[in-house]
């Protein structure tokens, strides 16, 4: 079985340096992030507090009426532990008018609306707090496309997007994320009782081991099957990764001129800084 363990101290050094440097180069010194009560945003919050100082981090809780009480409480544990600035902005009154407008709306649409409403709040607070929005998506969910485009995936920089979920757990444990967050089942908390693994149909641990072989180690699908993964599982995961590529790239621009953004107008974001 592949080894996904990481040198957590080194990861912490690189990621806190990344947050501080890249926010600084954009002309800012502060960060804003949504705190869901889950482990990903918890880790991002600990890294940001260490990188920027807790007074320069604004953690925002944005519950919907069906959000679990645990989510709010767990987010509060982090706020209390780190001493970061915080705000609670319930989204129910903002999203319900739109949801009620369409009687037949299923859970997926509702979840997307909630994720995008939270994005609006984060980017508004980004302006008010003069801080950049930190992304909290991990490598597993980015690969699987388990996120809402322009919703929870929207951010200025993402410090944890190259860590698989199991590695997020390892680093979170090392950095001191409170135990209840480490222990509970991952959930987007979009409806009562939802868990990610139930919705995905497999566990993060299984998915991470497979993705690590496919992506990081460049194994062929048949080699993964030989290693012991079920053929259907391998196929389903590969399919998901492929189908969600659109969430990982900027929208293509139709080329007409001799110089076009994305094709032959190439500069890093850090250009000139």
């Amino acid at each position: 079985m592949p080894d996904l363990s990481i040198d957590t101290e080194l990861a912490r050094t690189i990621l806190t340096g990344f947050i501080k440097t890249e926010i600084g180069r954009s002309g800012f010194s502060r960060a804003v992030l949504g705190l869901s009560g889950g482990i990903d945003s918890a880790l991002a919050c600990y890294l940001a507090a260490e990188a920027l100082g807790p007074e320069n981090v604004l953690a925002i809780r944005m519950p919907y009426k069906t959000s679990s009480k645990d989510s709010l409480e767990h987010a509060q544990l982090i706020i209390d532990d780190l001493g970061v600035q915080s705000l609670t902005v319930p989204i129910t009154d903002m999203v319900d008018p739109l949801i009620d407008r369409f009687a037949d709306m299923e859970n997926r649409r509702k979840g997307n609306i909630m994720a995008r409403q939270r994005m609006i709040i984060l980017f508004d607070q980004s302006e008010a707090f003069k801080g950049l929005v930190l992304g909290t998506g991990n490598k597993t969910e980015i690969l699987l496309g388990y996120s809402t485009l322009y919703g929870d995936s929207a951010c200025a920089i993402n410090p944890i997007g190259d860590l698989y979920k199991t590695q997020v757990r390892e680093l979170s444990k090392a950095i001191g994320v409170p135990q209840p967050l480490l222990d509970k089942a991952p959930s987007a908390d979009l409806w009562i009782g939802q868990t990610d693994e139930q919705e995905l149909g497999f566990t993060y641990e299984e998915a991470d081991r497979l993705l690590y072989l496919l992506i990081d180690q460049r194994y062929k699908p048949e080699e993964c099957i030989e290693t012991g993964f079920a053929e259907n599982f391998v196929k389903a995961v590969i399919q998901r990764v492929r189908k969600n590529q659109f969430k990982r790239v900027l929208p293509p621009i139709a080329k007409l001129s001799n110089r076009t953004m994305g094709y032959d107008f190439l500069y890093l974001r850090d250009w000139g800084t």
């Binding site: 032959d264 190439l266 250009w271």
Partner: protein, 293 residues
């Protein structure tokens, strides 16, 4: 003879040559005040690394007509300097280059030969390849300069060794990658890429019974990190010094150049090397290359 060496592992401003030059001049002064005879800077130290479309706007000419090189050449009257930059040649080709400056003159310019254009690298898209390597004489003996991917190919250090280099000056802007696993006994605190570079540089020092020194960028460019970790190895392949990982530093060390005599008296690998045999076999291999397949 002793060589007091300063290894600058620095961050840079992407595409702003003047701000980078300022930092160079400050560090040159600091190194000189600390008694250094030679200061070396990383790959593309005057420009930053992922330049893409910035390449033509940061290119320089390594001579005293160039306002940037003019100041570096002036500074080189007090201390030898190796610096990284983009060179635009007379036919407007752009090279990743390192220049060695001494006593107001450019002693040598190396154009990066191997331009990584795979994975996260795209150098071949923006730069021309160098077409040769030469060792050159300095007041500390004969030196060979290479840039990053150049020394990932064993052939170039080998050729420089045969060309008389006893002191290898390597420069990198190496994006860090590969978090080490905790379960397999890897040295903590060092990325896989950092460990790999250190291991091969140590091997070159031992195999070529020569001094190998290396300096590398620090900082970030978008999501990429640069790990620093400047290092020096003696002709026995023993580490002399290592700079910190992921932090800017001016790493000072002293090379006892007499160690070349002691090591090679014990271990005459250079004496016994057979360049004619290598040439004969490489000629044969090269001739058969197209007919064999």
């Amino acid at each position: 003879m002793k060589l007091n060496l300063a290894l600058a592992q620095i961050n840079t401003v992407l595409g702003d040559v003047n701000r980078n030059l300022e930092k160079h001049l400050e560090l040159i002064k600091e190194a000189r005040n600390k008694g250094a005879d030679l200061i070396i800077f990383p790959e593309l130290s005057l420009t930053g690394y992922i330049l893409q479309d910035l390449v033509p706007t940061v290119a320089l000419h390594p001579d005293d007509s160039d306002p940037v090189f003019n100041q570096l050449l002036e500074a080189s009257r007090a201390i030898d300097i190796m610096v990284g930059f983009v060179e635009e040649d007379s036919r407007n080709r752009f090279f990743i280059a390192s220049a060695y400056l001494s006593d107001g003159k450019v002693l040598h310019v190396h154009h990066k030969v191997y331009l990584p254009t795979y994975g996260m690298f795209d150098e071949g898209r923006f730069f021309a390849e160098g077409d040769g390597v030469n060792a050159f004489d300095t007041r500390f003996g004969r030196v060979g300069m290479l840039i990053c991917e150049d020394f990932w190919h064993a052939s170039l250090p080998y050729v420089l060794w045969l060309d008389g280099a006893d002191l290898f000056l390597f420069a990198s802007a190496s994006p860090g990658r590969g978090l080490p696993h905790t379960n397999n006994g890897c040295q903590p605190g060092k990325l896989d890429s950092a460990r790999w570079v250190d291991e091969i540089n140590r091997a070159y020092a031992g195999l070529f019974t020569s001094f190998v020194v290396h300096t590398n960028r620090v900082g970030y460019e978008d999501g990429l990190n640069f790990w620093g970790g400047a290092s020096a190895y003696n002709p026995d392949g023993e580490p002399i010094i290592q700079g910190p990982q992921h932090q800017e530093a001016l790493v000072m060390t002293e090379l006892d150049l007499n160690q070349l005599h002691r090591t090679r008296a014990r271990l005459p690998l250079l004496r016994d090397e057979k360049p004619s045999l290598v040439l004969k076999e490489i000629t044969r291999i090269n001739q058969n290359r197209h007919t064999d397949r």
